[in-house]
Amino acid sequence: MVAFLTPQMAIILDTKNLCKTFGAVTAAHEVSAAIEKDSVVGLIGTNGAGKTTFINMITGYIKPDKGTIEYDGHDITRLPPREIMRLGISRSFQVPQLYGSLGVFDNMMVGLGIVLSNAGLGGYFSRGSALVPGYGRPAEEVAEHLLGRFGLLEYRDRNAQVLPGGARKLLDIALTMVARPRILLLDEPTSGVSAEEKFGIMEMVMKAVKAEGATVLFVEHDMEVVSRFAQRVLAFYDGRIIVDAPPQQALEDPEVRRYVAGKRDPLERTSA
C-alpha cells in the first residue's frame, strides 16, 4: 500500500488498525488512514469492499471490533453518533435521510434547533432566537443561506418527500452543514442522480462545503468524479485499503484497475 501524506500536514482524523467482522464476513481488516485537515478524500471500491463500513465506524453507527479512531486529539471510537456529530463530524447518506413530512425550510430549522439546543441556546422553554454558533446569525437566516448555497431556495416551501432525486441529495448534504462540521463524510453523493446532473451536483457541493471550511471524505463509484474532485484516494478491497495515493496515481495502480475498476493488465491476461 502506498501511503500518501507529507509530514507538515495537520492530521484531523486518524484511524488505526480498524477491524470489523459480521459473522464470517470481514468488513474491515486493519484499516489505518490519517486524514489531513482541509483535504478532499475519495473512497473507492466495489460494493462490499468496506467503504461504508469505514464511514459507519467513524460516525459511530457501528463500533469496530478492534482499533482506534482519533479526531483532533479525541478518542471517538466508542462514542454514539450524536456525540461524534457534536464534536464536528457530520455525514450524509446513500439514501437521503430527510424529515419527509416537513417542508425543506423546516427540515433545516429542525437541524438548526438541535444545534442551538446543544450549544445551550435553545432549551425546552426558549424559542431559540439566539445566533447559531459558527455562523453568528439567527437560525432563519442560516437556513436561507445554506439553502441558497445548495441551490434549494426554489424548493423552500416544498415538502421534502416530493423533491426530485438531485434536490433530495442536496438537502441531505445541506442538513449536514447546519452544525458547520469540520469533517464531512458523504456516502455516494451522486448515486441515483442522472449522469448529466452528477458533475453539477458535485461542483455545487464542493463549492459550498469548501466555502464553509470542512475536510471532506466521499464515497464514489464514478472514477471521473473521483479524479476531478478528490485530492487523495483511498481504494478499498475486501475490507482493506489497498491503495492510498493521489487520484491519477491511484486510478492507474494495477491493483485498483484489477479490483476496483475490474480491468486486467494485457500482460497479465497473456500470461494467464
Partner: protein
C-alpha cells in the same frame, strides 16, 4: 413572519369561561370541568402522538393523579384543589420519570402495549388494596380553594374556574414548548430518528421529556376529575379509560393545543347525549362517531379550522 394568534385565542376562551361560566347550570359546569380534565390528558397524548407514539396506558397517570388527590384528603385532611392538582401532577411526573427510562427505548406497538401493561399493573394493585378501598375506591373530601370552602351553589363554578386557570397555563406552556427547538423535534422523531441522532440530538431523551410532560398533565387531569366527581376507584386506571383518551386525541387532532380541549368537550357532549337517548348502547354512538371521523376527517376536528384558515 406570521403572527402567532394561539395564545390570544386561548386567553379569550379562558376569559369567556370565567366571565360567563357561572350562568351555566350545575350539570353543564360538571361536563365542562370533566372535559377540561380529559383535555389535559389528551394534551399530553398529543405531544406523544406528534412524535409518532401512541400510549395505550395514559390512564396510569390519570389514576395516579386522582389517588394522589384522594390520599391527600384521606391521610392528611388536605382538599385544596390547587394542592391536589399539584400533587397529582408531581406524583405522575415522578413515576413517569422513572418508567420513562424503560419506555423511551421503545417505539410503535411496543411503546403502546408496554404503557398499557403498566396501567393494568396499577389497576391490579389498586383492586387488591384494601387500604385504598379495593374495587369500590373511596370518596374524597369536598373541594376547598385556598383554605376556604366555597358556598354550596358556587363549588362547581369554583372548581370549573380553577380547572380553566390550570388549562390556560398548561395550554400556553405546551404551546410555547412546541415552538422551542426541542418541541419542534417531535415530527422529526416521527419521520426519521436516524437523522435526528446524526444531527446531534438524543431522540430517546426527547421522548423521555415528552413522556414526563404528558404524564404530569394526565396526573393533573386525574386530580381534577377526582375532586370534581368526589369519588375515585381503580377503573380510572383501566384500559377502557386509556381508550377514551386516545379517542379524544384522535377526535381532536394534533394541530393545536386548543384541539384536545375541544375534542374532550365534544366527546363529553356525545357521551352525555348518547347515554341520555340510549343508556344501553351509548358506546355504539361513540363508535359510529369515531368511524365517521376517521373516514371524513382523518386529521381530526382541528383540521376543519386549518382548512378554513387556508381558504
Amino acid at each position: 413572519m406570521k403572527r402567532d394568534r394561539t395564545p390570544l385565542f386561548i386567553a379569550l376562551v379562558f376569559l369567556f369561561v370565567i366571565s360567563f361560566g357561572f350562568l351555566l347550570p350545575q350539570w353543564a359546569m360538571f361536563i365542562v370541568t370533566i372535559a377540561i380534565a380529559r383535555g389535559l390528558v389528551a394534551l399530553g397524548l398529543m405531544l406523544l402522538l406528534r412524535a409518532g407514539l401512541v400510549s395505550f396506558g395514559q390512564a396510569l397517570y390519570y389514576c395516579l393523579g386522582a389517588y394522589a388527590a384522594g390520599a391527600l384528603g384521606r391521610f392528611f385532611g388536605l382538599s385544596d384543589i390547587y394542592v391536589q392538582m399539584l400533587a397529582g401532577g408531581a406524583l405522575a411526573a415522578g413515576f413517569a420519570f422513572v418508567l420513562g427510562f424503560l419506555l423511551a427505548r421503545y417505539r410503535g406497538i411496543f411503546f403502546g402495549l408496554l404503557s398499557l401493561a403498566l396501567s393494568m399493573i396499577l389497576y391490579g394493585l389498586l383492586v387488591k388494596n384494601e387500604a385504598l378501598g379495593s374495587t369500590d375506591g373511596f370518596n374524597i373530601l369536598p373541594s376547598a380553594l385556598f383554605g376556604t370552602r366555597p358556598e354550596a351553589g358556587w363549588v362547581r363554578y369554583a372548581v370549573m374556574a380553577s380547572a380553566a386557570v390550570v388549562a390556560l397555563l398548561a395550554a400556553l406552556l405546551v404551546h410555547r414548548y412546541l415552538n422551542t427547538p426541542l418541541g419542534r423535534l417531535a415530527p422529526a422523531i416521527k419521520d426519521n430518528e436516524i437523522r435526528v441522532e446524526y444531527m446531534g440530538a438524543s431522540a430517546r431523551r426527547a421522548v423521555h421529556v415528552k413522556y414526563v410532560i404528558a404524564a404530569a398533565l394526565a396526573g393533573i387531569g386525574g386530580a381534577l376529575a377526582a375532586t370534581t366527581v368526589g369519588h375515585i376507584d381503580p377503573e380510572m386506571a383501566y384500559w377502557t379509560t386509556s381508550g377514551e383518551f386516545i379517542f379524544i386525541t384522535i377526535l381532536a387532532g394534533t394541530g393545536s393545543v386548543v384541539a384536545p380541549f375541544l375534542g374532550a368537550m365534544i366527546f363529553g357532549i356525545i357521551h352525555t347525549v348518547a347515554f341520555d337517548i340510549s343508556p344501553n348502547t351509548w358506546q355504539m354512538s361513540l363508535g359510529i362517531s369515531l368511524l365517521l371521523l376517521i373516514v371524513f376527517l382523518p386529521e381530526g376536528l382541528w383540521s376543519l379550522f386549518s382548512r378554513l384558515r387556508w381558504r
